[in-house]
Subunit: 290 residues, 2 copies
């Protein structure tokens, strides 16, 4: 539940002028406002599942996007039943200046490409149908100037080839693969809440630049409660991190009973030492490597 | 819209162990949490109208009441269509450990008695059907001990008569009116947002102990905007106060553009000098007079 000074768990990514939001609980719009980021470029909203703390803020968020003069379509991704749930919530937000497109997930694993993002949705294990998401940014290979020169490709075509175009020059046809190296390592952020610590999460988070995962409980003796409600402890989350070996791991979705989550950092790092225990408003800039 | 450090307008009254909430926008549950008051004794929720900023927080609020182990029925009061709107929002809060009773308003003026409160709902003038509310606490007359003595009513019956019971003692029948003076002045709090400054508001707020009224704009030149959107300026609100003569008047529902609403206090007080410009979390204890 939302608390004074602790907003409900959500993630926003920003890339190339396009923002993507995962989950939208009560007050997520206030958290975003506080960050100083804009509502207008939110092109994609991914919902993990239909519990109130992950979607109750959606009607207000959409209205505020409307107030920000958004007119372009918005894509909402989520489990089967998404359109029905969103339409039902929109009884108090029936008029929006933009169209909503829905992508309802029904498979255990689905990949969606939109607005420069590659999004993997992978089904996790909660009390209701729930998905984790990879948000990936692909990166083209390096342009091989030497190859272009040796193929005598005129300089004026280089840029078009770099952008993936095929160029015809008289009898010559130049294709991008002639001058572009293999795709380079892109960026991957993995986000998962709420779930038991199932293997699929570690598989999807493998090698991520940032792995954000619920760590609902830190106190001793909460394992049974975590199991009962389909959640995981910080230590269970850290075990996933240990398997996945992301560059960095953030825990989130702390129980309201967890007043000082960073108290448990030491013990959690005994399991996986790249774990951090973020507070509200944390952000991180991830650059392409090399 | 909810802002960092400014919650959406709502009012909670507490009397005799029973809490009453008017309006429940996104984050109202956080504002309540911050106040330190409890969710469990919320017996009545009055909704002014179905715009998101007055009702979007309801599903989360009801869930939190459920988490607080509320099991007694809750009465929700609001304009016609209330049950449909609440049911639609409850798609993400379908299971609650208490029953909800609905009272849908259809008249221009209706009075509801519940949990020691007398609630007047009066229709105001907004872009959609909207009600203002008086929350009144009645007060019985004084017990006239002298009359009781002269009528030779045994002391053992005094308390029952005071509580409104009729007592039979052999051939004697004692009724409360024999010993109780006329009802004394009770307490009245009037709450009105969102509306144009129509006469019915001043009529209902007449002589209130506290009159809470929207004062959406304070800046020059906002009259046309207020008219267009069915709101009122601080000065229009103050004119209502001048007519109604409450003991104290609070403005609320400030526009997000109004960063420092108290800047306008001086000018507003030129219209009605008992106006205050509250900030988040203001509360006031109102005692019976004499």
């Amino acid at each position: 539940m939302p608390l004074p000074n602790r907003w409900i768990t959500a993630l926003m990514t920003r890339y190339n002028g396009s923002s993507l939001l995962i989950d939208c609980g009560e007050g997520t719009q206030v958290a975003l406002k506080k960050s100083g980021w804009s509502f207008k470029p939110v092109d994609i909203i991914c919902i993990t599942h239909f519990h109130a703390d992950h979607i109750a803020g959606l009607p207000g968020f959409l209205l505020t996007m409307g107030n920000a003069e958004r007119t372009e379509d918005v894509l909402i991704v989520g489990p089967k039943g998404l359109e029905k749930v969103v339409s039902s919530l929109r009884i108090i937000a029936p008029e929006l200046p933009f169209k909503i497109n829905f992508r309802e997930l029904s498979q255990d694993f689905e990949t969606i490409e939109a607005c420069g993002y590659v999004i993997d949705a992978f089904r996790v294990q909660h009390k209701v149908t729930c998905y984790g998401y990879n948000v990936r940014i692909g990166r083209k290979g390096k342009f091989d100037a030497e190859a272009a020169r040796s193929l005598r490709i005129p300089l004026m075509y280089w840029n078009r080839l770099q952008n993936g175009e095929t160029v015809t020059d008289g009898d010559n046809i130049f294709t991008p693969d002639m001058v572009m190296g293999p795709p380079r390592k892109g960026i991957k952020v993995t986000y998962c809440t709420d779930s038991r610590p199932v293997k699929v999460i570690a598989d999807n988070a493998a090698g991520a630049d940032l792995f954000i995962c619920e760590g609902m409980y830190g106190e001793e003796g909460k394992e049974a409660k975590a199991r009962e409600y389909g959640h995981m402890t910080m230590y269970e989350a850290a075990e996933l991190g240990k398997k996945a070996q992301p560059k960095e791991m953030w825990l989130t979705h702390y129980s309201p009973s967890l007043v000082r989550p960073d108290e448990y950092l030491g013990r959690v790092r005994e399991v996986f030492d790249r774990v951090k225990i973020p507070r509200d408003g944390w952000f991180k800039t991830i650059d392409f490597t090399d």
